[in-house]
C-alpha cells in the first residue's frame, strides 16, 4: 500500500501506468516495479522452482531471489527480470513466471505433496527410481516445474554496444564509501570511473540518514557529487553494475541505458570493458534472512528492504509488522515503520538482552521488545496472518501468538565480497560481527604481483558510518597512490553513529528446532532448499561446501546464493561440527548478476556478426546469382546459377564449358606472399620440401610446405620475381597462417637471416582464364604476347592486356590451357568485365569453386584440407617428386623419417571408380574383414574427394588406401550413406589427360 508520507524517490504528481499479468496498475515516476507492485498490494509475484510455493518479494535490490518476471513481448521480450532492478515506465507489461495455469492457482503445488520424492539431491536420487516414474511423472511434471522464464522466440530489436576504457582507479559502488573513494582518488589526480548499479547515489546512508561532516548524509552526498562532477578526471555512471573482476585488472561493467526509458533512442545497454590499474570494491552488504519455519510465506521480508520501500518509495507491505532480529540494525525498521504511521506489535529479538541506543529509542516510542525469543512459525498461506513466538534457546514450545500481516527479519549483514573474490581475493571470518569479510593481506594479485583490489566500507566489513566512509576514502587514496597519483586528497570525511550492541549469530530459530520445523525453514527461496536439506546432505557425506551446493542446489541459478550462502554454510558447518571458516564459502564467479547475451555480443550481430571478406569482384558475383560458400571469412562463388538451374546442373555446365570453351575463376583469395632478401632462397628451401633457391627468374614451381611433424600443411605455386625476390602462392585459407608461420621461423629461429616477408594477397585481383579458348580470348583483347613459346607452361611474365598492367602466370589447376592473371585490386572489377565482354563470342562463362574442385579431381590434383587433414605426409599422396633429396634439412624432413612415417602399410593416395558408376560418399571408409579391439569393423582406407565427373559422366574419387598404389585394379568395398557397401576399383588418380597435353598447348 502507498503511504501518505515518505517516498524520497517517487514523484507523486507523476503517475505511471503498467500491467502485471494483464491487470492494469498505477505507480509513480521513480518507482521500481517492485515498489509499484507493493503499492498495488501485489505481494504474490511468483512461484518457487521446485514446490511451486507462492512467493513474494523478500528484498529491494540485486539480491531479490523470488520476484523474477517476464517483460515485454515479441522482439522486446525479456525473461527473468528482477523486479527490484526494473525501473517503472509508462506501458511496462510484466508477467509472472514459473506457474501454470495461473499465479493464483498453480497445479505445480502438487510437487509440494510429492516432496518426499524431492529431497536434497533429488536430481540424483529420484530421477533413477522407480524406472516407470520417469516417463509419466518426472519428465512431464518435474521438468516443467523447474523452469525459469521462457526464451524469446524472435530477435531482439534493441541495439547494444561495448566501450573500452583504461582507468587508474575503478570504484564499484556509489554509496558513501564508494563516493569517498572516488573523491580521494579524484583529488589525487587519478583517472577514475565510479559506477553504481541503482539509479541513485548514496546507498543505504541516504535511507538510514546518519550524520556526515555535521550534516545529513544526503547533504554530504550532494556536495560530494558536485565536487566529483567538476573533476574532468572522474566519470560517474549510475545504472551500471560491476559485473566481474578478472586477471590483470580487467573488469566488466554493465550499463543499462534505456531499460527505464524504452522510448529513448540509442543503445539499450553498454558493456564496459575496463582495464583498471586499481579497483575499489565498495559494494556494500546484503542482509541475511533468518531461518524460522515458513519464512517463505509472502509478507516476510528483509528488515532493511522493508525500510527501503517505506523511506524511498513511501510503500508499506502491511499494516502490522513484526520485526525479528539478532542485531540492533533491524530496530531502524521498527522505528521507520512507526514513524510512517504503521503498527509494530513487537520486535522479537533472539538476544538475551537488547541494550543499544536503537532498542532504547524503539522502546521509548512504545514498541514492545521481546528478547531471548524467536519466531516458531509464520502463519498464513499466500500471505502472512501472524506469527507464533517461542524461546530462542528451546525446541519451539509456543509462548504466544501475534497477529500481523508482515514480518521484517534481520539475521545481520554480509559484505558483498563477490568482486573481491572473482579474481582470487581471500576472505576471513569476523567472529565479532558474524560475517566473512575480505582479508586485506590476501587480495587478488595483479601482473606486478601486488594486490589490485581494495575492498572498502561495508563491503570490507565496516558496518558503521564513521568507519565505512573513512575506509572508503582511505581505499581511494591508496588506489590512486598505487597507480602513481600521490597528490594529497585532504582529510577523510567524518561520520557519526549511534552505539550499537553486538550481533549474536542465530542460524536457526529456535536453536533446538525439531525436524518438522527445520523442514519448513527456507534457506534458498529460489531453489527451494531448506535447513533440513543441507543437514541431510551433510549426513549423507557431502562435507565439502562445493559438493553440498551441487547436491542440494543451494545457491544456484540466477540468484547464486546472495541471500542463502552464509546461512547455508552455517547450517552445514553446524551439521558437520566444524567452525564456519573451516567449511568456507563456495566460489564466487562472475557475473555478479546474469548478463544478457545481447550485451555480451554488443554490436556483433546480424550483418556485423563476423567480418565477411569480399574479393574485388564480389558485387559482380552477387549480381549474377552466385551461390556463395564460406571459405574462412571469404565468400566465394560455389557456382553461378543460370535460370532454373540447380547447383548440380550449374557445376556440370561450368565444367563442360571450361573444358570445351573458356571459363573464368575469381582466384583473388589465393594467398600471395613476397619473400625477399639475400637469404630468401635459403629460407624458402627450409620452408618448402622442394628446392626453391634454384628456381630460375621468370619460372614457377609447385611447392609443398610441412610442419615440423612432417605433415603436409599448405601448397601452392612459387614464382621467382628477381634475383632476391620470390612470390609464394598459398591456399585461400593459408595466406595469414603461412605468413605467420614464416614470420615465426624468421623471428624466432633464424633471426640472423636477411629475409623480409610481406603479405600482398589483397593487393591483387587474380583471375584464372581457363580452357582451350583461353589464349584466343586474351589475344582478342590484345596486349602482351602469350603464345606457347612467348610464355611456356610454368612461367610468368609481366605486361599489359587491354591496357591493364598485369602479371600472368602460366599455371593450371584444371588440366586445361590456363593463364592466371593478377591485376591491381582496384582494377579487378573492370578487368573481369573486360574478360567477359571479349569472351562472349567464345562463350566464356565464370565458374565457381565446385567446378574448380571437380576439374582438379579429374586431374588427380590434391587439395589441402581434402586429401590432407594434419596426419598426412606428402609421401602418402605420392608427392615424393616434390620432396628434395638433395637438401640436408627442411621443415618436416626429420619428422618424415620417423618409423611410422616410413611404414609400407600407410594409407596412400589412389583413384577410385565405382563398378556401377555411382558417386561414393564423402569420407566413406573402405571396409576390411575382421574387427578391431573395440569391436569395430576394420578399415583399410577412406575417401578424401568424391565427385560426379561431367567430363567422364560417372563418379570419380580419390582416397587413401592401405598400400593403395601397389594394388591397382583391386576392387574394395566402401560404406554407403544409409548402410550397405559399394564396390570400387583402385585406379590411377589422374582420370583426365594423363599426359598433360592440354595444359601444355
Amino acid at each position: 500500500m502507498r503511504l501518505r508520507t515518505n517516498g524520497r524517490l517517487v514523484a507523486k504528481n507523476r503517475p505511471v501506468h503498467f500491467t502485471f499479468n494483464g491487470k492494469r496498475m498505477q505507480g509513480y515516476a521513480g518507482d521500481t516495479l517492485a515498489s509499484a507492485l507493493l503499492a498495488n498490494d501485489q505481494l504474490l509475484v511468483g512461484r518457487s522452482f521446485k514446490y511451486h510455493r507462492p512467493r513474494g518479494l523478500v528484498a529491494a535490490g540485486a539480491e531479490e531471489p523470488n520476484a523474477l518476471v517476464e517483460l515485454g513481448r515479441g522482439d522486446r521480450q525479456e525473461p527473468n527480470a528482477r523486479v527490484t532492478q526494473v525501473e517503472l515506465y509508462d506501458g511496462l507489461a510484466a508477467r509472472s513466471q514459473n506457474h501454470w495455469p495461473s499465479l493464483e492457482f498453480d497445479v505445480g503445488v502438487i510437487n509440494a505433496k510429492l516432496s518426499r520424492f524431492l529431497p536434497a539431491g533429488f536430481y540424483y536420487k529420484t530421477f533413477t527410481q522407480p524406472r516407470a516414474f520417469w516417463k509419466h511423472v518426472y519428465e512431464p511434471i518435474i521438468r516443467r516445474s523447474a523452469g525459469l522464464g521462457s526464451a524469446p522466440e524472435t530477435g531482439d530489436d534493441h541495439t547494444y554496444e561495448h566501450f573500452n576504457v583504461a582507468v587508474d582507479v575503478l570504484v564499484v559502488g556509489g554509496g558513501i564509501s564508494g563516493l569517498a573513494a572516488a573523491l580521494a582518488a579524484g583529488r589525487a589526480g587519478a583517472r577514475v570511473l565510479l559506477i553504481e548499479q541503482t539509479s541513485g547515489w548514496g546507498g543505504r546512508a541516504v535511507v538510514d540518514r546518519p550524520t556526515i561532516e555535521g550534516a545529513t548524509a544526503q547533504d554530504w552526498v550532494n556536495a560530494t557529487l558536485g565536487e566529483l562532477h567538476r573533476m574532468p578526471n572522474v566519470d560517474m555512471r549510475i545504472r551500471t553494475q560491476g559485473a566481474g573482476v578478472f586477471d590483470h585488472g580487467y573488469a566488466l561493467a554493465h550499463e543499462r541505458l534505456t531499460d527505464h526509458a524504452p522510448k529513448r533512442g540509442g543503445p539499450r545497454q553498454r558493456l564496459w570493458r575496463i582495464r583498471a590499474g586499481q579497483i575499489v570494491t565498495a559494494t556494500g552488504a546484503i542482509e541475511r534472512p533468518l531461518s524460522f519455519a515458513y519464512n517463505d510465506v509472502p509478507g516476510v521480508l528483509l528488515a532493511g528492504a522493508l525500510r527501503d520501500y517505506v523511506v524511498n518509495f513511501g510503500v508499506a507491505v502491511g499494516e502490522r509488522t513484526v520485526v525479528v532480529t539478532n542485531n540492533d540494525d533491524a530496530y531502524r525498521t521498527a522505528i521507520a515503520l512507526v514513524n510512517a504511521g504503521l503498527e509494530v506489535p513487537a520486535v522479537i529479538d533472539a538476544r538475551a538482552a537488547a541494550k543499544g541506543e536503537l532498542p532504547d529509542q524503539a522502546r521509548a516510542m512504545g514498541i514492545r521488545v521481546i528478547t531471548g525469543s524467536a519466531i516458531r512459525a509464520v502463519e498464513g498461506g499466500k500471505r502472512v496472518t501472524g506469527v507464533s513466538v517461542c524461546a530462542q534457546d528451546g525446541t519451539g514450545g509456543q509462548i504466544e501468538a501475534i497477529a500481523c500481516d508482515c514480518v521484517a527479519m534481520s539475521g545481520g549483514w554480509s559484505p558483498v565480497v563477490h568482486l573481491w573474490s572473482h579474481c582470487g581475493g581471500k576472505l576471513v571470518w569476523d567472529d565479532a560481527q558474524s560475517l566473512f569479510r575480505p582479508d586485506a593481506d590476501r587480495p587478488p594479485l595483479g601482473a606486478d604481483g601486488a594486490g589490485f583490489v581494495t575492498a572498502a566500507g561495508t563491503a570490507n566489513g565496516h558496518l558503521f558510518t564513521a568507519e565505512a566512509i573513512a575506509d572508503g576514502f582511505g581505499a581511494g587514496r591508496k588506489a590512486a597512490s598505487a597507480s602513481g597519483h600521490t597528490r594529497k586528497p585532504g582529510q577523510a570525511p567524518m561520520g557519526d553513529d549511534l552505539a550499537e550492541a553486538a550481533i549474536e549469530p542465530v542460524w536457526m530459530m529456535p536453536a533446538g528446532a525439531p525436524y518438522d520445523l527445520r523442514s519448513k525453514m527456507w534457506l534458498d527461496y529460489q531453489n527451494d532448499v531448506k535447513v533440513s536439506d543441507v543437514q541431510l546432505a551433510a549426513q549423507e557425506g557431502f562435507q565439502s561446501v562445493e559438493h553440498a551446493k551441487r547436491y542440494t542446489t543451494l545457491g544456484m541459478a540466477t540468484d547464486q546464493g546472495k541471500l542463502s550462502n552464509i546461512n547455508g554454510l552455517a547450517i552445514l558447518s553446524n551439521a558437520l561440527g566444524e567452525a564456519i571458516p573451516q567449511v568456507g564459502t563456495t566460489t564466487f564467479r562472475p557475473p555478479y548478476t546474469p548478463l544478457p547475451l545481447a550485451a555480451i555480443a554488443g554490436v556483433a550481430r546480424d550483418e556485423l556478426f563476423q567480418p565477411i571478406r569480399k574479393t574485388p569482384v564480389y558485387d559482380w558475383h552477387e549480381n549474377n546469382d552466385a551461390d556463395f560458400e564460406p571459405v574462412g571469412h571469404w565468400r566465394r562463388p560455389y557456382a553461378y546459377l543460370l535460370g532454373d538451374e540447380t547447383a548440380h546442373d550449374a557445376v556440370k555446365r561450368e565444367v563442360n564449358n571450361t573444358r570445351t570453351n573458356v571459363g573464368l575463376l575469381d582466384a583473388s583469395t589465393l594467398g600471395k606472399l613476397i619473400v625477399k632478401g639475400p637469404d630468401a632462397g635459403k629460407f624458402l628451401d627450409m620452408m618448402y620440401t622442394n628446392m626453391m633457391s634454384n628456381l630460375a627468374v621468370g619460372k614457377c614451381r609447385y611447392g609443398l610446405m610441412c610442419s615440423e611433424n612432417g605433415f603436409l600443411s599448405d601448397d601452392g605455386v612459387v614464382a621467382r620475381l628477381d634475383d632476391d625476390t620470390w612470390l609464394c602462392h598459398t591456399t585461400t585459407g593459408g595466406a595469414d597462417r603461412i605468413h605467420a608461420h614464416m614470420e615465426d621461423w624468421l623471428q624466432c629461429e633464424w633471426w640472423d637471416w636477411q629475409v623480409y616477408v610481406a603479405n600482398v594477397t589483397e593487393q591483387f585481383a587474380q583471375f584464372a582464364v581457363v580452357g582451350p579458348k583461353a589464349r584466343q580470348l586474351l589475344q582478342d583483347i590484345g596486349g602482351m604476347k602469350l603464345a606457347k613459346d612467348d610464355l611456356p607452361f610454368m612461367q610468368w611474365a609481366e605486361g599489359q592486356i587491354g591496357g591493364f598492367d598485369v602479371r600472368v602466370f602460366r599455371i593450371s589447376f584444371s588440366g586445361e590451357l590456363s593463364y592466371e592473371i593478377a591485376v591491381a585490386a582496384g582494377q579487378g572489377a573492370a578487368f573481369w568485365d573486360l574478360l567477359l565482354k571479349h569472351g562472349e563470342p567464345l562463350n566464356v562463362m565464370p565458374y565457381g569453386t565446385e567446378a574448380l574442385h571437380v576439374m582438379r579431381a579429374e586431374k588427380g590434383f590434391i587439395m589441402i584440407g581434402d586429401e590432407t587433414d594434419g596426419t598426412v605426409i606428402p609421401q602418402d599422396l605420392n608427392l615424393d617428386w616434390a620432396i628434395s633429396k638433395k637438401k640436408d634439412d627442411f621443415l618436416g624432413k626429420r619428422g618424415q623419417q620417423r618409423t611410422h612415417m616410413q611404414d609400407p602399410d600407410r594409407w596412400k593416395l589412389v583413384g577410385l571408380e565405382t563398378l556401377d558408376g555411382s558417386v561414393l560418399a564423402d569420407g566413406a571408409y573402405a571396409v576390411e574383414v575382421g574387427e578391431n579391439a573395440n569391436g569395430q569393423r576394420n578399415t583399410q582406407g577412406r575417401i578424401t574427394s568424391t565427385y560426379y565427373s561431367p567430363t567422364l559422366d560417372k563418379g570419380i574419387a580419390m582416397g587413401l588406401v592401405k598400400r593403395g598404389p601397389d594394388r591397382m585394379g583391386d576392387v574394395i568395398s566402401f560404406t554407403k550413406d544409409g548402410g550397405g557397401t559399394v564396390d570400387a576399383r583402385i585406379v590411377d588418380p589422374v582420370f583426365y589427360d594423363k599426359d598433360g597435353e592440354k595444359q601444355n598447348v
Binding site: F163, L608, Y756, G826
Partner: protein
C-alpha cells in the same frame, strides 16, 4: 586500362560523427633498418616527413610515414606516385637489404570525424584511447571489432583508419553503427 576504384566507392554517412571513405591512397610498405640513413632520406624525399619514432605518425600535408613495427614503415603518398616511389626506393636502397611493396590496393582508408570520434573507436578497439594516452601524432595497430586496423588522428576530432580491402565494408558498417549509436560521454568532447 580503366581508372582504379577504392573498395568503398566513396561511401559516407551523415551525422554528428561522420564515417567516410577517403578514396584512393598510395601506400608502400617499406621494411628495413629504420635507422639507416638512406632509408630515412628516401622516406623524407617521398613524403616530406621525418622518419617516425616508436608508434609515431609523421605527416607533411597528406603525405606521411606511419611506424608499423621496429623494421617497417608505411609510406602514404598520392596513389599515382607509387610506381615512381618504388623505383626511387629501389635506387636509393640498392645493395641494402630491404623490401618495398605497393599495398595501395590491398587496403582501404576510412575517416571518422566529429566531436565523439574518439568514443566511436573506443567502442570497437581494445585499447586506451584517452586523449592523454593517444593524441594526434601517434599510430596504433590493434583490432577494430574482429579485424586488424591501424589508426591515427589528424586532429583532435579526426581519425584515419586503415584496414584490409576485403573487410572494408565490415569496417565501414561497424564504424557507422557505432557512430549512429551516439556518444558515451566518457572522454571530454572534442578531444
Amino acid at each position: 586500362m580503366s581508372d582504379p576504384i577504392s573498395a568503398l566507392l566513396g561511401r559516407e554517412t551523415q551525422g554528428s560523427v561522420q564515417v567516410s571513405d577517403t578514396g584512393l591512397r598510395g601506400m608502400i610498405t617499406l621494411r628495413g633498418d629504420l635507422s639507416y640513413g638512406k632509408m630515412k632520406s628516401i622516406c623524407k624525399d617521398l613524403t616530406g616527413a621525418a622518419m617516425p619514432g616508436l608508434r609515431e605518425a609523421q605527416f607533411k600535408g597528406e603525405n606521411g610515414l606511419l611506424w608499423m613495427s621496429p623494421d617497417e614503415v608505411l609510406i602514404l603518398l598520392p596513389y599515382a606516385d607509387v610506381a615512381d616511389g618504388l623505383a626511387k626506393i629501389a635506387k636509393a636502397m640498392k645493395g641494402q637489404h630491404h623490401l618495398a611493396v605497393n599495398v595501395s590496393d590491398a587496403r582501404a582508408v576510412l575517416q571518422v570525424q566529429g566531436p565523439f570520434a574518439r568514443e566511436v573507436i573506443a567502442k570497437l578497439a581494445p585499447v586506451d584511447l584517452h586523449p592523454d594516452a593517444f593524441p594526434p601524432g601517434q599510430v596504433l595497430r590493434t583490432r577494430l571489432g574482429q579485424i586488424a586496423a591501424a589508426l591515427w588522428m589528424t586532429d583532435a576530432q579526426t581519425f584515419q583508419i586503415i584496414c584490409f580491402r576485403s573487410v572494408a565494408d565490415y569496417a565501414f558498417d561497424l564504424l557507422a553503427a557505432s557512430a549512429a549509436a551516439g556518444p558515451v560521454g566518457h572522454f571530454p568532447r572534442g578531444t
